[in-house]
Symmetry: C2
Subunit: 142 residues, 2 copies
């Protein structure tokens, strides 16, 4: 099995709040938007981020209904410290909650912030001068 | 803020079990592997999947230490029903647990299975004839 990750799906307690944040607040265009069920966005080449109403998420997976979102962060990498501040401002204006203000990280020369969406999804907004993506998508760390 | 997702980081209760599964079992090459701390893999163009020891995950985010992984699935899409079966066999051989055997899904003509890794990360292995990625990475649903 080669590493080939195409979809990330997150259980969402409030799909309407999710839509208000990503579609109305941030201006993202859904690939698919089914009321009370699921919203999919393309978030990178070949990559889909899905928000799935928690009840449907649990029943689809045969879970007992207790699953909530925990233990996952998503990172959005930008080219400068000012871009970190700008994206954090956009997220805040859309209704996000800043939990770590823009600041130097603990290692790697990173400058970052953490912002949670209305469902508690944790986004890290980061500028990492030692991290690079080549034209073919190969990731490297300096 | 444009959709630009570069890192997915998951809290992991047992990083050694994670390494045994992905590196030894599946043969993935880590970008970074720091004992008792974190393992990063490139899982798609420009995309990194990180497994972060749960204690470090919680302290890095200023959480109260109670975060465990829940409410997230990752999907690996392949080109045929036979490839679904083959990848499920690879995951099982590496120590994964099948929770949904390869079977037709509820909608969209999908054929899929669910397999959990040793830390409970849920992988969906899917063949979806109506889903496509163009050369530039644009995702479409038929």
């Amino acid at each position: 099995m080669d590493p080939r990750l195409h979809f990330i799906t997150l259980a969402t307690a409030d799909l309407d709040a999710c839509r208000a944040f990503y579609v109305n607040g941030l201006g993202w265009s859904p690939l698919i938007d089914v009321a009370d069920e699921v919203i999919f966005f393309q978030t990178a080449p070949g990559l889909v981020l899905g928000f799935f109403a928690a009840g449907s998420f649990n029943s689809d997976l045969g879970l007992d209904g207790s699953a909530t979102l925990s233990g996952v962060t998503l990172a959005h990498n930008v080219d400068s410290e000012d871009a970190v501040r700008s994206v954090v401002a956009s997220l805040t204006a859309a209704g996000g909650t800043v939990t770590t203000p823009p600041e130097p990280g603990a290692f790697g020369g990173i400058f970052h912030a953490h912002v949670t969406d209305p469902n508690g999804v944790i986004w890290e907004i980061a500028h990492n001068p030692g991290w690079a993506v080549s034209d073919d998508g190969t990731v490297s760390f300096g």
